[in-house]
């Protein structure tokens, strides 16, 4: 009995030692030098692996930045400060300015404003609710089951009264929520130089009469916003107003459009 224990311990030990030696030898001969700047850049980056830069994570971004000596789109959550530091580390000018984007909710109807078609007792996910045909009469709006909340890396989203709300102090504009929203009510948009975020808080593409029946907050596509100000950035398409973000004007004329919208669909938020 003792023999077997001894034999197994010794043979396993010898095998372990053998493989350990082979591995350490391989580590020596097959070592790959890693650029130390990658580690330095990683220290600067926020490290939340949001993927907004278009790479798989902070490490992938750092490696690509070192390899090609480029900032690509830059780190969006990190902002200018981080990108400047990375630029210094790489010895290049941080010209790539991170786009100033935040997510907006193209629906402003809370529970009560939008009519429920039926109670949802299925899996607690917008994806499955959509498969079943939605919960509300309006088939375009926010389902409020919070698929986006689950993927937000910074906890900027929450669902209140059947509608998702964005905490703009926290939102980093990574766009993860946009990718998972089955309704397409989330959109990543630019905010203005003055730090204002404008959007049309509706996604309903039905005609005015139907919209009115389904929801108290819906855009009826009347087009006042397209006429009330000169060179209006608003466009009506499929009975729904949307913003052309390249044509957004000064706060004064934007305010006119906001006031004159009969459905109170145009939203404005100070985000910076």
């Amino acid at each position: 009995m003792m023999d077997r224990v001894l034999v197994s311990v010794i043979s396993l030990g010898v095998m372990g030692l053998f493989f350990g030696l082979v591995l350490s030898l391989a580590d020596r001969t097959l070592a790959v030098k890693q650029d130390e700047r990658v580690k330095k850049i990683l220290d600067v980056l926020p490290g939340i692996n949001c993927g907004a830069c278009g790479f798989a994570g902070c490490r992938a971004f750092a490696e690509a930045a070192v390899r090609e000596k480029k900032l690509f789109g830059g780190c969006i959550p990190g902002g200018d400060a981080v990108n400047k530091k990375i630029g210094e580390l790489l010895g290049i000018e941080a010209t790539a300015k991170a786009p100033a984007k935040k997510v907006v909710v193209l629906c402003s109807a809370e529970e009560g404003s939008k009519k429920r078609s039926f109670d949802w007792r299925g899996v607690n996910s917008c994806l499955s609710a959509r498969l079943a045909g939605g919960i509300y009469d309006c088939k375009y709006g926010c389902l409020g089951l919070g698929d986006c909340v689950k993927v937000c890396p910074v906890g900027a989203l929450k669902v209140e009264k059947g509608l998702v709300k964005v905490d703009y102090h926290k939102c980093i504009g990574c766009g993860k929520c946009v990718a998972v929203c089955p309704q397409g009510v989330l959109k990543l948009v630019d905010y203005t130089r003055e730090g204002y975020l404008y959007w049309v808080g509706c996604n309903n593409r039905e005609e005015a009469q139907k919209v009115r029946k389904e929801c108290a907050e819906g855009c009826i596509g009347g087009g006042i916003c397209t006429k009330i100000i000169k060179d209006s950035p608003f466009v009506i398409e499929n009975n729904l107003s949307s913003l052309d973000y390249e044509k957004i004007q000064d706060p004064v004329s934007m305010n006119i459009a906001i006031e004159k919208c009969p459905a109170h669909c145009i939203k404005k938020e100070k985000v910076v």
């Binding site: 034999v7 197994s8 396993l12 493989f19 082979v22 097959l30 959509r130």
Partner: protein, 193 residues
């Protein structure tokens, strides 16, 4: 010769590790989204499997059987396979960084891949000799690669098709894998006749 041929066909098609034993599902689902990386992964697995079959055979019969400590086979196999995969990983990292990038996390996953441990255990169970074991390992790897590449091809096509949102991603892949497994059942009568 006939026996080796039977082992080969058996491992590639009839008793395919992925689709009839359901071993190695993790890399099968994880790396089958791009044809290129699935081919790389398939080759890495084939390579590791052939090597692992040879080396585990040697260790099993020259050490474990000789000292009558066959009960250690699990520990020893895992040790051998893990070390082997580590070496392969270092090798790929050094000589083919793009492949290393493409394989990502799945390369270390070969370490604990049940398909490879299963291979070593089947090899002992069926009492293959050295040549048969190596052929068995190689064929199993090829079978794995075949299924992986077939799946990757299907998934690349699927990217262009209109799948209901709730089925996108993992669900449709699992359904496809199930149908693929059903199709592979058709091979079950291939050898017996």
């Amino acid at each position: 010769m006939k026996e080796i041929f039977l082992i080969f066909i058996g491992a590639v098609l009839v008793n395919n590790f992925v689709l009839s034993y359901f071993l190695g599902i993790c890399p099968f689902l994880g790396v089958s989204n791009r044809l290129e990386s699935s081919l790389g992964m398939g080759m890495a697995v084939t390579f590791v499997m052939s090597l692992a079959a040879a080396i585990t055979w040697l260790f099993y019969y020259l050490i474990l059987v000789r000292f009558h400590i066959e009960f250690l086979e699990y520990v020893v196999f895992i040790l051998v396979i893990a070390s082997l995969v580590q070496i392969v990983e270092m090798f790929i990292k050094k000589y083919s960084p793009p492949l290393y990038q493409a394989l990502g996390i799945y390369l270390p996953l070969i370490t604990t891949n049940c398909a490879i441990l299963g291979l070593a255990l089947f090899m002992v169970l069926r009492q293959y000799n050295f040549v048969q074991s190596v052929i068995f390992g190689f064929a199993t790897g090829l079978g794995f690669m075949l299924v992986l590449v077939a799946m990757a091809g299907i998934r690349e096509e699927m990217d262009f098709s209109d799948i209901p949102a709730a089925f996108k991603g993992a669900p449709i892949v699992l359904i496809t894998a199930g149908i693929l497994a059903l199709a592979f059942m058709g091979f079950s009568g291939l050898i017996s006749g």
